[in-house]
């Protein structure tokens, strides 16, 4: 097997036995990047030198090249957030997840492309360039963690980290045919993750299979005193939940997630996977999540409101981009932000500013917060009946570049199936479960109760072995 095809656990095995060296592995990936990334454009920054600075030689990720979404701060490595305004920003600190990776000997191989400030579902909102889907170069990889998902799918790294606010790990993982986990809110430290919507943002792993996902999640999760919203429980070894039986487990299928403009083929592939699971003794039940239809509106109010405030710090005063020519302070602010931010970011700042304004707060932000509570309650009710919920991850498979770019509302709808669980803070995982007639990966989403990632790994691991999905070397013919 070629080195770039390895999973974390496979690579670790070879490294431990001394059959390959970290620099050999790293070199193989750099060569692969050189050859393939010009087609995919997954990376904003490639870190050729990082191999020289491996911290811990006996770590659980010793010598494993990991790609990191470019909104996760890396000390001395440019962290752009896909934005002009941070184009040359070099953080003097590491995000907590980066410290954890380094402590286990991982090598940061590069920083991946993303929708600017994680706002988008196609990675076309990057200020620098669009990333392409390795399965079909005319199509988007999804977003906002499109670079992270594409880099894993195209074997440009062993695994990657993404961030998920309303689906930004799961939807691109679905489009690119890889495993992606959005952890329970509070389970992975947000320290060093450039904030988009603080009450929703979570960092999570994007990997080639479920075992890697459990392995990487074990390393990055756990309480962090630097993040006040971090939940005070330590991490554990989640790989122990792999290989456990699923007999008598109850799986919920919410009808609302199979309406909502979900593509017929996507539905079929997902339901077939559920059928396979029921063959393993799983009980499949219908559940109702009646407030699902309000989730998108609720999400865009809350996320934009928080974003409008989180992005105020990019004012040209302290770091990042400042316009060269201005008359006075206000002019500097206006011009810096006008030129520094892209269209979608400005759209959301305006929406968010509006929904927090005196006179509108009650009708928008406050009401959205209340509906958010109702959406949470829907899930609470459902989880009284079932252990996990299975849905499609996205209504469609990967769409074409440019297809939805001029129609933000249609673009927003590609998050319709991932946003509700984000609002509820629940853990959810994308698992590739087959291909559609265009040979594009279809993803299914497993949603578990708070802090029950173990169920995602148990169910995902079983499903992975059942579904008709093979990891292929993509793009083809390179």
């Amino acid at each position: 097997m070629e080195l770039h095809r390895l999973t974390i656990l496979e690579a670790r095995n070879l490294l431990e036995k001394g059959e390959i060296s970290p620099s050999e592995l790293f070199g193989a990936f750099l060569a692969r990047i050189e050859k393939v990334d010009p087609l995919i454009k997954a990376y904003i920054t490639i870190c050729e030198k990082e191999i020289e600075d491996i911290v811990e030689k006996r770590g659980k990720l010793y010598g494993i090249p990991i790609a990191v979404k470019d909104n996760i701060c890396t000390r001395s490595i440019r962290t752009t957030c896909g934005s002009r305004i941070l184009e040359n920003f070099i953080p003097p600190y590491d995000a907590t997840v980066i410290s954890k990776l380094k402590k286990e000997g991982a090598v940061i191989i590069g920083k991946t492309n993303m929708d600017e400030f994680a706002m988008g579902s196609s990675t076309e909102n990057s200020a620098f360039f669009a990333t392409r889907n390795p399965w079909d170069l005319e199509r988007v990889p999804g977003g906002s963690s499109g670079g992270s998902a594409a880099s894993v799918a195209a074997d440009l790294c062993v695994a990657s980290l993404g961030s998920d606010t309303g689906g930004s790990i799961r939807q691109p993982a679905s489009f690119c045919g890889v495993v992606g986990l959005k952890p329970t809110y509070g389970r992975v430290s947000r320290f060093g993750l450039v904030a988009f919507a603080s009450s929703l943002d979570q960092i999570g792993p994007i990997t080639k299979d479920v075992a890697d996902c459990a392995y990487l999640f074990s390393i990055i999760s756990g309480f962090d005193p630097l993040d006040s919203t971090s939940y005070p429980i330590e991490s554990e070894d989640f790989t122990k939940y792999l290989g456990r039986g699923v007999k008598n487990l109850r799986v919920g299928i919410p009808e609302e997630y199979f309406a909502l403009g979900v593509d017929r083929e996507v539905k079929e592939v997902v339901l077939r996977a559920v059928e396979l699971l029921s063959g393993e003794g799983v009980e499949v039940l219908e559940v109702k999540l009646p407030h699902t239809e309000y989730a998108i509106a609720t999400y865009y109010i809350i996320a934009s409101a928080e974003a409008s405030s989180n992005l105020e710090r990019y004012d040209g005063v302290k770091y990042g981009f400042r316009v060269g020519d201005y008359r006075n302070l206000d002019d500097m602010y206006v011009k810096t932000r006008t030129f520094g931010f892209g269209k979608e970011v400005k759209r959301r700042i305006m929406m968010g500013t509006f929904s927090l304004a005196t006179g509108y707060y009650d009708a928008y932000f406050l009401r959205a917060s209340k509906i958010r509570a109702l959406i949470k309650r829907d899930f609470d009710e459902a989880f009284r009946k079932v252990d996990v919920i299975i849905t499609p991850t996205a209504p469609t498979t990967a769409f074409k570049l440019g297809e939805k770019l001029e129609d933000p509302l249609t673009m927003y709808m590609s998050d319709v199936l991932t946003v509700p669980s984000s609002l509820a803070g629940l853990p959810a995982m994308n698992l590739p479960c087959g291909l559609d007639s265009n040979n594009l990966p279809v993803g299914l989403q497993i949603i578990a109760p708070l802090f029950r990632e173990d169920l995602l790994f148990t169910v995902g691991y079983v499903l992975e072995s059942l579904v008709p999905f093979e990891r292929k070397e993509v793009p083809l013919g390179v």
Binding site: N71, C81, R190, A195, S228, A305, S308, E312, R313, K318
Partner: protein, 480 residues
């Protein structure tokens, strides 16, 4: 028509914790610009606030001392606005769920004791400072050392009726904060900052007039002046048939006036919302109880005790308890010489006049309680005269040392034997024939001069009472 003013204050008090409220940077004052900073208080991308529990403790103690109800759950909110000294583009503050509500402060006014109600007390972070280049320097600079220093904002109900009451209230607030040790509350250093909401109405009316907010009153000296000016300005506007506009005005200390800063329609919309980076602040009753028990004796209580236990006047007790350090000094002096009336007298008159003269705080004074106690004791026991006592205080102030030793070494002990005094008295009578003549002709007031001469010759060591008696006796002998 006669008018009365209605004044409410919003007071910011800097808490003197060692580290900032949301990061571990030092709060030390006066360091070179941007040296007490880190990625968190610089508002760098991805950084998050973590609440300093000490700041909460200080804020709760302050609120308890202001007789507030502490809310078991309070919520941090973001106040959004753009300004270079605000690194995140928002200030972390509290809004609709503040730390504490419904308190009061008692102040002494001409009309007796008055209760000023406290509407709310909340916790927030301070901003940095903009420094504008002078002369040919066209740049403005930002110093973020202060960004993230913990503050409490204390908001009163509009219970204050005169500028003098406002001044007294602020003084009382400062006293309370110093007693608690949570802030030095020095207005000149920006540790206590005050904005005032001012309106006027016909005397006796219950309605509230349109108010203006006065900002930038940054010195104790200017509190009354700024308010007096604004009240007068509003009265003149009304009397001229005009209307008061709701607006924010800035106190201009050099001109002694308030000026429009921004009109109502230009007010910021701060778009407050709960800060998603911080959990609601939950205070368990045990915690509040614990902090309550740690509160020191507060000025009102201490004053009452001074009157009761030491038999001091209300005035002396007020003066002595106006500063915790002075009250502490007084009580510690009592341990060396238990004569409350005499010690109180020396502290409030001699000691405090020297402090005022030198513009220093009692903790920085070059004299300790035992030294003052000894001086008072020497005077009270007639070892030295009162005049020598004051001189002795000056010597100790300048040079330090044990007052008893100094008295011995410098021969300052009171001359009490009549024969040696008699010699001096005779000398003076001989040397001042004109004054003696005056006295004998009935202008007996001139005896003061003669006593003074004796005191001069004895370098104050004679008892003036005794000298007067002796002089009177000798002079009446001459008369015959």
């Amino acid at each position: 028509m006669e008018f009365e003013a209605v004044i409410g204050l919003e007071v910011h008090v800097q808490l003197n914790t060692d580290s900032k409220i949301f990061c571990s940077c030092s709060t030390a004052f006066g360091n070179p610009p941007n040296t007490n900073v880190c990625p968190i208080c610089l508002g760098m991308p991805g950084t998050l606030p973590v609440l300093n529990v000490k700041a909460v403790e200080y804020a709760v103690k302050a609120a308890l001392a202001l007789n507030c109800r502490i809310n078991d759950i309070s919520v941090f909110a973001r106040k959004n606005y753009f300004y270079p000294d605000l690194p995140k583009g928002y200030q972390i503050s509290q809004y609709d769920k503040p730390l504490a509500t419904n308190g009061y402060v008692l102040i002494e006014t001409k009309g007796g004791q008055k209760r000023i109600r406290i509407k709310r007390v909340h916790v927030e972070e301070d901003a940095g400072k903009n420094v504008h280049g002078e002369g040919n320097d066209p740049y403005s600079y930002v110093d973020l050392n202060r960004a993230g220093v913990p503050l409490i904002e204390i908001v009163t109900e509009p219970d204050i009726s005169t500028p003098e009451e406002a001044r007294v209230f602020l003084t009382k607030l400062r006293t309370i904060m110093r007693y608690l040790g949570v802030s030095n509350a020095d207005m000149e250093k920006g540790e206590l900052r005050c904005d005032a909401n001012v309106s006027i109405r016909p005397k006796g009316s219950n309605e509230l007039g349109v108010k203006t907010e006065i900002k930038n009153i940054n010195s104790f000296k200017f509190v009354a002046k700024a308010l007096e000016y604004e009240i007068e300005r509003q009265i003149l506007v009304i009397k001229a048939g005009g209307r008061i506009e709701q607006e924010t005005r800035l106190w201009n200390a050099s001109l002694g006036i308030t000026e429009t800063m921004r009109k109502k329609e230009m007010e910021h919309d701060y778009r407050y919302f709960p800060d998603p980076d911080l959990m609601p602040l939950v205070l368990k009753p045990e915690m509040i109880e614990k902090w309550k028990k740690e509160l020191p004796e507060l000025p009102d209580k201490r004053k009452a005790r001074f009157m009761e236990d030491y038999g001091l006047s209300s005035y002396d007790s007020e003066v002595l308890t106006s500063e915790k350090a002075i009250a502490d000094f007084f009580e510690s002096a009592l341990k060396f010489y238990n004569n409350p009336t005499a010690i109180a007298n020396w502290v409030t008159v001699e000691l405090m006049s020297r402090l005022n003269r030198e513009g220093i705080e009692i903790v920085d004074a070059p004299i300790e309680a035992w030294q003052l106690a000894k001086i008072v004791k020497l005077v009270e026991e007639n070892v030295i005269t009162g005049r020598v006592g004051k001189e002795l205080l000056d010597i100790v102030w300048k040079e330090g040392g044990d007052p008893e030793e100094i008295v011995k070494k410098r021969d300052m002990i009171q001359i009490s034997d009549a024969s040696s005094l008699e010699v001096v008295v005779d000398e003076v009578i001989k040397e001042c024939p004109a004054e003696v003549e005056k006295y004998l002709s009935g202008k007996t007031k001139v005896i003061g001069y003669l006593v003074g001469q004796v005191m001069k010759k004895t370098r104050g060591r004679a008892n003036p009472q005794f000298v007067t008696e002796l002089l009177e006796k000798k002079l009446s002998e001459l008369k015959r």
